[in-house]
């Protein structure tokens, strides 16, 4: 049974077709990397999964239910930029995710509840390697550290789906390697289903258990917007990783 299924999804802005006839079925725990030329709808697809946009045609099901048409706590997200709140310290950036759902009136916790939220946030931050920077503001962190923070912030919600929109696009290669290690580690530990848009083919092949290539198969030179992109290749990757994960899961359920 598929966790996420995409049924004949089209996305169109005025007369510009961006995505056409997408059909996909994704199992839980899959690490999908999305690659393709610029402007061929990878990020649009991610926004559809996020609920930031509603498809013009078709439907996306999560656990057999149509996904909510606005962002919510079930889907975490990390953008390339502007993923963290500049006015909150590193610790509060992560604790915010624990405070917001529990306090509908003020959006903040007090006393013991606040202490617990901060302890939980601090534990996660130590795990992603930000234990030394809890009291800093995001502007005081390097680009890689900010993305670590953004990932921690998304994971504190324990989302079932994590959406990454070129999260490491602005980082230099060394830092990017570290981030790959961190991301794979976190993915192995959780039952997370990941969708990651990337421009870097190597990254796409190395990280994913499934590589989705977006491309336009039809092109009318007189009307560039007439046809949208489809998924032209759907390649299973890193079967060892997938198998290891399936084995662990079967052991846990047994």
């Amino acid at each position: 049974m598929s966790f996420i299924s995409v049924n004949n999804v089209w996305q169109q802005y005025d007369d510009q077709v961006v995505l056409e006839g997408l059909n996909l079925s994704i199992a839980e725990g899959e690490f999908c990397t999305l690659v393709g030329a610029s402007g061929c709808g990878k990020s649009t697809f991610l926004r559809l999964l996020l609920g930031q946009e509603v498809p013009s045609k078709g439907v996306i099901l999560l656990d057999e239910q149509p996904i909510a048409n606005e962002p919510d706590a079930s889907r975490g997200v990390v953008f390339q930029r502007y993923s963290v709140f500049p006015h909150l310290s590193v610790l509060d950036n992560v604790a915010l995710g624990l405070e917001l759902p529990r306090s509908a009136l003020l959006g903040r916790l007090f006393g013991k509840a606040k202490r617990e939220a901060r302890e939980q946030a601090s534990a996660l931050l130590h795990k992603v390697g930000l234990g030394h920077a809890l009291d800093k503001y995001p502007t005081q962190l390097s680009g890689g550290m900010q993305q670590r923070l953004a990932i921690a912030q998304a994971l504190i919600m324990k989302p079932r789906v994590l959406l990454l929109d070129e999260p490491f696009g602005a980082l230099d290669p060394g830092i990017r390697k570290d981030m790959h290690v961190l991301l794979l580690e976190l993915w192995r530990e959780t039952k997370l289903t990941v969708f990651m848009v990337t421009h870097d083919l190597c990254e796409g092949f190395n990280l994913g258990t499934r590589l989705l290539v977006f491309d336009k198969v039809r092109l009318d030179p007189h009307a560039p917007g007439a046809y949208g992109a489809r998924i032209t290749y759907d390649i299973p990757l890193n079967s060892d990783r997938r198998a290891a994960r399936a084995a662990i899961e079967s052991l846990q359920t047994a």
Binding site: F85, H87, A104, Q153, M157
Partner: protein, 271 residues
């Protein structure tokens, strides 16, 4: 070396800062001295001594009729009006700006309305204020409020729109409702901007205050200046103007210091 690449060092910067003020004072006092030697009764450019005497009469010696110290009483009433006007405008401007900048359903009717309202010349509605609110404190405070609220609201609306949409989406994925999103993400990011906007509208606020006091008042810094104008009392007007300038400058500096202190993240803290 090109002019654009030449920078003053510390010492010469200090001199350059003081120089225009010194020149201004020098020009004034030479002019004053020249005129006073020709005609000791000249009232146009009073000397430092004459001005000090005038200040003494209002600041240190109590008024013969009321027994009050005029300068301090004027200052207190003016500052009270100004503070009330600024506080009301800040709260209203913040609420309207956030509603209009963050919530598209509120922005649709509010945004064009604000644009039109901000074009109404506040001084043109002053007579209406006097008719509606009477000649008391309320109409003076209202003039300040009407004058600067649209400016604050429009500025904050614009800043609210400049908050990256990624942050608003991120907050929603962290479980924020519209209300908590405004409370924990939008509001804290706009507060430092509010202080900066307040600094920018301080000048207008003083303008409206003095205009209102000049027309209908029984005390206040603006009232006093316009009152003594009848006697050509430049020895009093000039120190009053200087005092108002100093107060405005101090308020500006205070707001700036407050922004730095209260929102260290705003101007890019260094590691």
């Amino acid at each position: 070396m090109r002019l654009i690449n030449r920078r003053p060092d510390r010492a010469s910067r200090l001199i350059l800062v003081i120089l225009p003020f010194a020149l201004l004072l020098f020009a004034y006092f030479t002019g004053s001295a020249t005129r006073l030697t020709e005609n000791p009764n000249d009232k146009l450019l009073p000397s430092a001594v004459q001005m000090t005497d005038a200040i003494k009469r209002v600041a240190i010696i109590p008024d013969q009729r009321t027994g009050e110290y005029l300068l301090w009483q004027d200052t207190a009433s003016s500052l009270q009006r100004l503070a009330m006007g600024l506080a009301i405008s800040a709260v209203v401007g913040l609420c309207v700006g956030i509603a209009s900048g963050v919530l598209p359903l509120f922005g649709a009717p509010l945004s064009p309305l604000l644009t039109v309202l901000s074009m109404v010349p506040p001084l043109a509605v002053l007579p209406i204020l006097f008719i509606v609110f009477g000649l008391g404190e309320l109409s003076k405070v209202m003039l300040i409020v009407i004058g600067i609220t649209p400016v604050l609201a429009r500025d904050l609306e614009q800043r609210a729109r400049e908050i990256p949409v990624e942050l608003l989406i991120k907050a929603q994925t962290l479980g924020a409702s519209t209300w908590t999103l405004i409370l924990r993400v939008v509001l804290p990011q706009l507060l430092p901007r509010l202080l900066i906007s307040l600094r920018l509208v301080l000048g207008s606020a003083w303008l409206f205050l003095i205009a209102a006091e000049a027309i209908a008042s029984t005390d206040g810094l603006g009232y006093r200046i316009f009152l003594v104008r009848r006697y050509l009392a430049m020895d009093m007007i000039l120190p009053y103007v200087a005092w108002i300038t100093l107060l405005a400058w101090l308020m500006d500096w205070g707001l700036k210091a407050l922004t730095r202190k209260a929102f260290p993240w705003y101007e890019g803290v260094r590691p």
